[in-house]
């Protein structure tokens, strides 16, 4: 239960829930870069597991720190899977489509290390959330 934030403790009230939320939001507010990999059936079928492993391998190889690789669901662009969304604190989230192992390496080397957006592979830049 490391994911839940507060161990095995059951929430006993609405306030407990609010406190847990505040903790989770503070965690998200930390200055960490997040790579979101689409891991619904559509993504997995298109090879998202390989992409996720390639990202992790390249990050390790380059010795980068404070980068999380997270699985997520389907954003709806099934035709463009595997997808990787790069969230760098203070920057627009960038979503790449048709990512393969090679492109995964490039995303780490160019986008994460040099701040260069790989325009050719960008699906969307600003994420709208209602």
């Amino acid at each position: 239960m490391e994911n839940a934030g507060n161990g095995n403790k059951k929430l006993r009230s609405w306030d407990d829930l609010k406190k847990l939320r505040a903790g989770e939001m503070a965690k998200n507010g930390e200055k960490r870069t997040v790579l979101l990999v689409g891991m619904a059936t559509c993504g997995v079928a298109a090879g998202a597991r390989d992409v996720s492993e390639a990202l992790a391998a390249e990050i390790k190889k380059q010795g980068l720190k404070n980068i999380d690789i997270t699985a997520t669901g389907c954003y709806g662009f099934c035709y463009a899977e595997p997808m990787v969304e790069v969230r760098v604190p203070g920057k627009n989230a960038v979503r790449y489509g048709h990512v393969d192992k090679d492109l995964a390496g490039e995303i780490v080397r160019r986008h994460l290390m040099r701040g260069e957006v790989l325009d050719k592979y960008v699906l969307t830049q600003e994420v709208t959330r209602p």
């Binding site: 994911n3 095995n8 847990l20 559509c42 669901g73 389907c74 997808m83």
Partner: protein
């Protein structure tokens, strides 16, 4: 560059945004606040009233008002009631529910607990197909995490309210998407429907009052509770408020999931959000609602998408499958494809569906193999209407839709099949004949060497010939010929 093109994400709000296997991610997005609000600030009657006023209608296809369903289950007498979620998504080409369960399982769990609170139930069951292993895994993980935090199980959030959810894996029968069949299946019986009434709200699972909704319906509930019914009504139309998720598939450029406000014209969904038709081909029709729906021709593409408009066109909203067809698709062939599916999936309990669909399919097979006559079209229409009017459950009541709608809108195509024994879209293989064009053939022998039945003869560097009597129309020569010397007509 914008990524929505008029889309509004309510049911899909967290899909592709959070990690579905971390309850903390869901909670950070405001998760389980709707449940807390429903438990601590609202009475069951107020919850039902909010859902009623929101105008939310069943997203599984029929469009029954959700609030009314909750009210009926709430009013039914009984200390034991059930909340069920229908995740038996069986339409070919539809994957909305799978994506919601894989991308945001907690939104469905939370809404089921709210429903339990509203109608006075303490047990929830999700009926999900075993063919969705990833969705099952994520749901199990989500249930486990919610239980550990006391958001499911006994004494939720210290309120004294108990509610547990378990999964039931369906074996993949299409008819089990029908609610009474689904309940029979959970009880260990055959997946067969029964006559309604009594409706599940009065006597459902184990003859107890049961509220059953579709995955996407539940996925809308938490936002309605949190933001209020007025907020929800700002989207969509007067009679069909809110949004609908569609699985866009077929000959469209951007295959995927879209969530649009009700009332958006079909053309906008296909041409703007879907990015138009592949390879610059022309749009011919859109098939909505899967095997229970119909084909809507190009001239009706400006129809707004809502429950009533689609029914008026002879199709249905259905669970949200939307298959785009272009000029290379044969409408008779499409009707045959869907009917083959429903004829195989018919449970066999009632005669109109069991035998009627089989006869409909036989007539279609006759037409697509060159044995049809104009009389067959009259028979299709008459029999289709009988099956629709006399079948016991929704499967048979809707299975003739693909046939009836294509007969109505694409009559000419049927006529070419029955009169000229020809398929204009070159899809009905039995009606095709393959020829080698002498002026193009270079005598390379590739076709002859690849033909699986060795029916192509000819010497090297000389024109080859196909023996029509032995040709099985497998299309191999057409694909292999290096100079495109093979033609089919």
């Amino acid at each position: 560059m914008s990524d929505n093109y008029g889309q509004v994400r309510i049911a899909l709000r967290n899909c592709g945004v959070i990690d579905p296997e971390k309850i903390g991610d869901y909670i950070a997005q405001g998760g389980y606040d709707a449940l807390a609000k429903a438990i601590f600030e609202m009475t069951p009657a107020e919850i039902i009233d909010t859902v009623k006023k929101s105008g939310l209608r069943g997203r599984g296809g029929a469009g029954f008002p959700t609030g009314l369903k909750w009210e009926l289950s709430g009013k039914s007498e009984g200390d034991e009631k059930y909340v069920m979620c229908n995740a038996d998504e069986g339409d070919p080409g539809a994957f909305m529910d799978r994506s919601i369960l894989e991308g945001d399982p907690h939104s469905v769990l939370e809404a089921m607990v709210i429903c339990g609170r509203a109608i006075g139930a303490r047990q929830g069951i999700i009926y999900i197909r075993a063919e969705y292993p990833l969705a099952v895994k994520r749901l199990q993980k989500a249930i486990g995490e919610a239980e550990e935090l006391g958001l499911l199980g006994d004494d939720i959030l210290g309120s004294g309210f108990d509610f547990g959810i378990r999964l039931y894996l369906g074996a993949g029968a299409f008819v089990c998407g029908e609610e009474t069949s689904l309940m029979n299946s959970v009880q260990g019986g055959r997946g067969e429907p029964r006559i309604k009434p009594p409706f599940p709200a009065q006597a459902g699972l184990w003859k107890k009052p049961t509220n059953i909704n579709n995955v996407e319906t539940y996925a809308n509930v938490c936002r309605i509770i949190l933001n209020g019914w007025e907020w929800f009504r700002q989207f969509g139309t007067e009679k069909s408020p809110g949004t609908k998720v569609f699985a866009l598939a077929g000959k469209v450029n951007n295959v995927g999931l879209v969530e649009v406000p009700m009332g958006m014209p079909l053309r906008h969904i296909i041409e703007v959000i879907g990015g138009g038709i592949q390879n610059g081909r022309k749009l011919k029709a859109v098939q909505t609602g899967g095997p229970s729906g119909g084909c809507i021709p190009e001239e009706h593409m400006d129809t707004p998408v809502d429950y009533e408009s689609l029914v008026a066109l002879g199709s249905i909203m259905g669970s949200g499958g939307m298959i785009v067809l272009d000029e290379d698709d044969c409408m008779v062939n499409i009707a045959q494809f869907y009917l083959k599916f429903t004829a195989e999936e018919s449970c066999g309990k009632c005669t109109p569906c069991r035998i009627g669909n089989r006869r409909l399919l036989e007539i279609l097979e006759k037409i697509t193999t060159g044995g049809g006559a104009e009389k067959d079209m009259i028979d299709l229409d008459e029999l289709g209407n009988i099956v629709r009017d006399c079948s016991l459950c929704g499967l048979g009541q809707s299975s003739p839709n693909p046939v009836l709608s294509t007969l109505k809108y694409f009559r000419d195509e049927y006529l070419v099949h029955v009169n000229d024994k020809r398929c204009p879209s070159k899809r009905c293989t039995a009606l095709l004949r393959y020829f080698i064009m002498p002026e193009k053939c270079i005598g390379c022998t590739v076709c002859a060497r690849n033909c699986p039945v060795s029916c192509i003869s000819g010497e090297r560097k000389k024109t080859h010939v196909i023996d029509q009597a032995r040709c099985i129309k497998c299309n191999t020569c057409y694909e292999k010929c290096p100079v495109n010397a093979i033609t089919k007509e």
